[in-house]
């Protein structure tokens, strides 16, 4: 350390020392604007293509400087999770901390390398800007502070869900997904940024942000309360829902979406059944309205409508042809995905609202629809699609060719289904996967070895089943052959099914988008199997309507015509669920709500009119 020589006295020659400065480079900065550092936090830039309007930036801003602006021309797609909103920033409040950039789920926001904005007092409006990709003064200064892969404030990875190994899974029809434990659930729930895209895209508009927050705060009863605002089948949806919410999730844009379905399952599994009944039972109207409503079919649509109508005070009776309530949930989805006990739990809550469910009664047979119409003020058909479609290929009328819907129902009814050592399933959707995996389990139980092949018209990228199902099916040793169409069944000399001939598919849709598959007849394969199962779609069984009613009703291209609430052309007859809107549990729940609201409103008008 050099000593400071401050004890010396002054000298007349001291100022001459300053002459040395003439030889030095002056400390001077150029007048031209200079580029800011590559990491500089300047004014905001927003890439409108990437931005989805989730408003997470608005939430993290500590000065509340960000406002969302609705811009009508922008694309808006609730199902994909895109809003026609973009952030606007008030530079009177912004402090340029860059937290909005670090938290943005799509990485559309960044800060530029621009230093200066000045204005006069009367131009203060220029402080409120709508960032776009071009820069605040319409001159693009390069990107400065932007999000990097390491410096993301959001966790892009989901908590993994523990599940059993494929070999173990095939040994039984037991549920193989273990569910989140508390720590995993809290961590997963903390990933949510509360943007609400899931709420917008869910067909039933479940209050997912609220129940995810409640799970994070470990207030599970509040979570159940939020769930029951829109969905009385949360045990079911927490396992098998098609998860529109997760497709819309903002975190899913660059990472894995928040596991909303598993969190719902966690909340429902960890609150006792008695408490769930008590929570769901709140907000009932105590008065009985004196109205009687019959619902045909104890599936998700029918029972949701029953739940809503019973809470309004109407007397609801549900008629179910099969031995237990549940509809397709109970008899169409295998128990390794959805155990019967969970369905029974959900249905028990609905029963506790005062709904009467009468099983083993087939309408159209045991009781006619006309009788129902006499004894009730309104009838809701929630009968679903009970018939499977057939490919109608040669040999498809042989007894060894089954429809997936039938077989799945028989397995769920507990019947013994003899399965040959090899089987082929035609179809590429979730039902085909369910069928194939059920057959594989039965084969392991009956023969010790599974051999199931799936053939589907679509190619691998376009298979209709969802990605998780495809992965699990593949893990369980089932062969999936995409882009192959069924040609004919091979029947051997003893009149038994011996296999299926398939032919390669060149294209499925013609240039107008109509279904017109085109095959390459030179590429034919034979898949040896003792059983062929068709899983290519479902149809409604409308025999219960009877000839006269069928004549009177309005139809729309083979489907029963209903208005947007579910009312058919006969005012007392309503329809909801798969029958009207195609197969999916959560759509059926949403439909059930709409029908219940419609019936309630119609009955109130009716009462006024006759009063």
């Amino acid at each position: 350390m050099s000593e400071i020589n401050y004890k010396s006295r002054g000298s007349i020659l001291n100022p001459l020392r300053t002459l040395s400065f003439l030889a030095r480079k002056p400390v001077t900065l150029p007048l031209e604007p200079r580029a800011a550092a590559p990491n500089y936090r300047g004014f905001h830039l927003n890439d409108w293509e990437k931005c989805i309007g989730c408003s997470t930036c608005q939430k993290i801003c500590d000065n509340e400087a960000i406002t969302m602006i609705h811009i009508p021309e922008l694309p808006e797609d609730p199902v994909q999770g895109v809003r026609a909103q973009r952030p606007a920033i008030d530079y009177g409040r912004c402090c340029w901390c860059g937290l909005c950039v670090d938290v943005c789920p799509t990485a559309s926001l960044s800060l530029s390398r621009e230093y200066i904005h000045t204005c006069e007092q009367h131009e203060l409006d220029s402080y409120f800007i709508l960032p776009d990709p071009h820069g605040m003064h319409k001159r693009f200064y390069d990107h400065g502070w932007r999000k990097t892969a390491d410096e993301d404030l959001i966790d892009l990875q989901r908590q993994s869900m523990p599940e059993r190994e494929p070999v173990e899974r095939l040994q039984s029809f037991d549920e193989f997904i273990d569910g989140y434990d508390t720590q995993a659930a809290i961590l997963e729930a903390s990933r949510c940024v509360q943007c609400g895209m899931c709420h917008d895209s869910c067909p039933a508009h479940m209050h997912a942000p609220e129940y995810i927050r409640a799970i994070w705060e470990q207030d599970l009863e509040e979570a159940v309360r939020q769930i029951y605002r829109t969905n009385p089948f949360a045990h079911v949806c927490g396992r098998v829902c098609t998860r529109r919410c997760e497709s819309a999730c903002s975190i899913g844009v660059r990472g894995e979406p928040v596991a909303i379905r598993w969190l719902k399952r966690y909340a429902m599994d960890h609150v006792s059944h008695e408490r769930i009944r008590a929570i769901a039972g709140g907000q009932r109207s105590g008065n009985s309205s004196g109205r009687r409503i019959a619902i045909v079919g104890a599936g998700p649509a029918g029972l949701t409508a029953a739940y809503d109508l019973a809470r309004e005070g109407h007397a609801v009776t549900v008629f179910e042809a099969l031995p237990e309530a549940g509809g397709m949930m109970r008899y169409g989805i295998p128990s390794y995905r959805l155990p019967a006990e969970r369905i029974a739990d959900d249905i028990d809550v609905i029963r506790s609202m005062g709904v009467e469910i009468r099983c083993n009664i087939r309408i159209g047979q045991d009781i006619t629809l006309a009788q129902l119409h006499e004894n009730h003020d309104a009838v809701l058909l929630g009968i679903g699609l009970q018939f499977g479609r057939s490919t109608r290929i040669p040999g498809s009328d042989h007894p060894g060719v089954h429809s997936a819907v039938d077989l799945l129902r028989r397995i769920r009814l507990g019947e013994f289904v003899a399965v040959p050592p090899a089987a082929v399933v035609i179809g590429g959707g979730n039902t085909a996967m369910d069928m194939a995996r059920s057959l594989a389990r039965l084969q392991i139980a009956q023969h010790g070895l599974a051999c199931v092949t799936i053939t589907a018209l679509e190619d691998r990228e376009h298979l209709l089943a969802d990605q998780e199902e495809l992965r699990e099916t593949g893990e369980e040793g089932i062969t999936i052959l995409p882009a192959r169409g069924p040609q004919r069944c091979d029947i051997d000399d003893s009149a038994c099914i011996d296999g299926l001939f398939t032919v390669a598919v060149r294209s499925i849709y013609d240039e107008f988008g109509r279904f017109a598959p085109c095959y390459d007849d030179s590429d034919v394969q034979l898949h040896r199997a003792g059983m062929v199962v068709e899983a290519i779609g479902q149809q409604a069984d409308l025999a219960l309507l009877g000839e006269e009613l069928t004549e009177r009703l309005a139809w729309d291209r083979g489907r029963l015509q209903t208005d947007n609430r579910g009312q058919t052309s006969e005012p007392w007859l309503w329809a909801a669920g798969d029958l009207v809107n195609g197969p999916d549990v959560i759509h059926a729940v949403a439909d059930g709500h709409r029908a219940a609201t419609g019936i309630g409103a119609w009955l109130a008008e009716f009462a006024e009119a006759t009063a």
Partner: protein, 380 residues
């Protein structure tokens, strides 16, 4: 205090008069007021009047998430913001049990020492200005600007870097940064001789500041003086040595002291500290290429981050003295209480008042500036 609220106090006929200095005055550091009672040129009584920079940070911080507070915190001390950020981060880390990766700790040390250099360069300019020499201010601010360029490079902000989060720092160093740092350290060291010739060895400066505002050890300890002001009385107490934080226990540096306890001693202590900071930075620049790893420990989503209940007291050595944060959490996602103890809370109030009594009016500015009394810290 606004003019309309001033209540005139009537004195008995005497040769004492009251003089208000501030809040906007070149002889006052920051926005601060001193009400002096003078008898001729000698100060008989002094009373500090603060509050012109009160922004209510402690209350504001209670209403914001833990992560959002990083944007508020540097603004509490204007000349030396890095210490504020890092002290807040240390406090939350103590509460939450967060472990800061090694690379982040070295980067933080670099940030702290660079911030100390900027604060001292500014300080020399300020002190010189109280003696009527303005060249030092120009030089100091120009050299400080070069350091701010470095801050802009690696933190993204020139003065308020908002670079530290509880758990680490926000970005890694850009490529080539350490080369620029070394070049700047060489430049600053070469400038020290110029500063010595201009200011520190300057006979006028020495003569004016020697004996001004003297404090002895006893008084310093009694009045709660910390930092360079305490070291100017001969006590080698430094938080970096006594209560080490970050990686200061792995770095070699000396604690400069002076004996006299007057304004000159305070100036010289800081001059030597500047050299020590350069020495520390050289060691950091040597070590950083070998310390690899993340610059932040994994943190939860800032919108869903609860810190466990408890309290913590984090102390750092800022350029002015002992800076401490007392942080209390009730287990929620916002702080329950953050109490900021800035060194100037002692220096600008009691010490300034006590040292002013008996000194001459022309020395008041010098006393305040050499104490490095920073009003934003007092007012928060």
């Amino acid at each position: 205090m606004r003019p309309e609220n001033y209540q005139a106090v009537s004195h008995p006929p005497s040769h004492e008069y009251e003089l208000n200095i501030g809040p906007n005055h070149p002889g006052i550091e920051g926005n601060y007021a001193l009400r002096l009672t003078l008898e001729g040129d000698i100060v008989v009584a002094a009373r500090a009047d603060a509050g012109y920079l009160h922004r209510g940070f402690e209350k504001l911080m209670e209403g914001r998430l833990w992560m959002q507070n990083i944007a508020l915190v540097p603004r509490i001390c204007v000349p030396d913001p890095a210490h504020m950020e890092i002290c807040y981060a240390l406090g939350v880390e103590m509460l939450g049990g967060l472990e800061v990766p090694a690379r982040a700790q070295w980067i933080r040390v670099m940030q702290l020492e660079l911030s100390r250099i900027t604060a001292h360069l500014f300080y020399f300019g300020g002190v010189a200005a109280t003696m009527g020499m303005y060249s030092n201010m120009f030089w100091g601010v120009a050299d400080r600007d070069l350091v701010l360029d470095l801050f802009e490079e690696f933190t993204g902000g020139r003065v308020y870097s908002m670079f530290n989060v509880p758990g680490g720092v926000r970005r890694d160093l850009p490529d080539g940064f350490l080369g620029k740092l070394k070049a700047l350290l060489d430049y600053l060291e070469s400038r020290l001789e110029d500063y010595d010739n201009l200011f520190f060895s300057n006979y006028v400066v020495v003569h004016r500041s020697r004996g001004t505002g003297p404090m002895n050890r006893q008084q310093a300890l009694e009045w709660g003086v910390t930092g360079p002001n305490l070291r100017a009385t001969g006590l080698a107490f430094d938080v970096r040595r006594d209560d080490p934080y970050l990686v200061y226990d792995q770095i070699e540096f000396d604690i400069p002291t002076e004996e006299a306890g007057d304004a000159l001693a305070r100036i010289l202590v800081r001059r030597r500290e500047l050299q020590e900071s350069i020495r520390i930075l050289r060691q950091v620049a040597e070590q950083l290429p070998y310390i690899k790893g993340p610059v932040r420990c994994p943190l939860p989503n800032p919108l869903a981050w609860n810190v466990p209940a408890g309290d913590s007291y984090a102390r750092v050595e800022s350029s002015k003295g002992e800076l401490a944060y007392y942080t209390v959490s009730n287990g929620g996602d916002k702080p329950w209480r953050v109490h900021i103890r800035g060194p100037s809370q002692m220096h600008a109030v009691q010490v300034l008042e006590n040292l002013s009594v008996g000194s001459r009016i022309e020395d008041i500015a010098q006393i305040m500036f050499t104490l490095d009394a920073c009003p934003p810290e007092v007012d928060r």
